[in-house]
Symmetry: C2
Subunit: 245 residues, 2 copies
């Protein structure tokens, strides 16, 4: 999967923010629900000291060689590089990867999560920050990618991923959406969205948010187990380790 230039709404938004523009991240869901936020673009470029505290705390569980999935503006890769880690940053967005490189990420590649494979070598930690657990997309894809990530990681391998416990939200529009998902046999927090920026729009993609019970269910049989969570209101960082055999 590669993005055509007119599909790189996320990357162009990031590059504009990097150039100092005040940008909004506009996210549209397939039921017509739309939001705009300045929070995203600010966070994507934030130095470690400005990260939310659960993001900072999650970094304590990172060790060894790191794969940063959905690297965005490169904040995680830059921080871990500074701490001396060998980091490979991947993102489906060419603009995001251009931004990573401009900001000093040494190994940044345009690559979707589906295309992550053994050719990148073995990792000790896979980071999926800023809600990027979502890139697992759906129950079936999550199972498949988790099994692949198990093969790509060392025996002490970890996944450090952030997601949102959608069950804590009572907004009627979201409750309706979750109910429709369940009726269709999907996990309630599987949303179909796209990012828009000016006249650019990403393709529609699935983004998965899970509560902790759902997370455990997803991990079952994939070689991974939930070691701990770092909670912050309705989002949390999951520290996921290799299952002992």
């Amino acid at each position: 999967m590669t993005l055509r230039p007119e599909q790189d709404a996320y990357g162009q938004m990031l590059l504009a923010a990097l150039d100092g523009a005040e940008v909004q991240e506009i996210v549209e869901r397939d039921d017509g629900f739309i939001t705009a936020s300045v929070f995203g673009p600010t966070l994507y470029l934030a130095p470690f000291r400005r990260w939310p505290s659960h993001h900072r705390r999650g970094m304590r569980f990172v060790r060894g060689r790191v794969l940063d999935v959905g690297a965005g503006g490169g904040r995680v890769a830059l921080h871990l590089q500074e701490r001396g880690h060998d980091v490979v940053a991947v993102d489906i967005s060419p603009g995001a990867i251009e931004g990573c490189r401009r900001r000093g990420v040494r190994d940044a590649r345009v690559l979707s999560v589906e295309d992550v494979d053994e050719s990148l070598g073995t990792f000790d930690t896979i980071v999926m920050y800023g809600n990027n657990f979502g890139l697992f997309a759906s129950r079936a894809k999550a199972k498949r990618l988790l099994r692949r990530f198990a093969r790509l990681t060392s025996e002490r391998g970890r996944i450090v991923a952030e997601t949102r416990d959608v069950h804590q939200g009572a907004d009627p529009a979201h409750v309706r959406y979750r109910r429709r998902n369940v009726e269709r046999g999907r996990l309630p927090g599987q949303i179909r969205i796209r990012v828009r920026y000016r006249d650019l729009a990403t393709p529609w993609f699935d983004y998965l948010m899970v509560g902790q019970d759902e997370l455990r269910e997803l991990l079952a049989g994939t070689g991974w187990t939930l070691e701990r969570t770092i909670d912050s209101d309705d989002v949390y960082v999951a520290v996921i380790g290799k299952e002992s055999r």
Copy 2:
């Protein structure tokens, strides 16, 4: 023309802002260009001292009984009421009119610009602020409404309206849009847009922005003449008076 509740994106956005929420105004153009801004919602509720200076200066030209077209959050109506004017505020958005009433606008009515007629009585000044000259929509509709406004106003009647001189903008996406308009026989600054908020979207509507030469051309033969402009970068307040016979 009336709006169904799920079409009142603008009004619900305003009411949320009035309740203290940090809202963004998302405006989508029919070529897919989309923007989000916190500026709009802030301005719509701003007290006079916080208005841009060309808005404040334009108020000097208001006299007598006032019709506030596209009253939004009621800031113009409230200011003029305080100054002792008799003001009728109209807006197509039921949420906006609810907001006007909550904020103390004494005569606020759900009414689209097309439905403004003699039943409202005679006015000395018609105000179309915050780019609301745009509600004239197109060359043909502007001519028709301007003639009607001439009949609805006293001999010393005025229109005090803000618009944007689109010709000053060099953004390629906008240049392309203007060129397409001209090819279709439209004024370059006629944009087709809708406002979106959460899962609500207004119907698509035409919004007209004109340079000063185009404005003079529109006024010709309608009973109105351009008396002065108050410029501020690429926007300006036009003070439009009755043509002497």
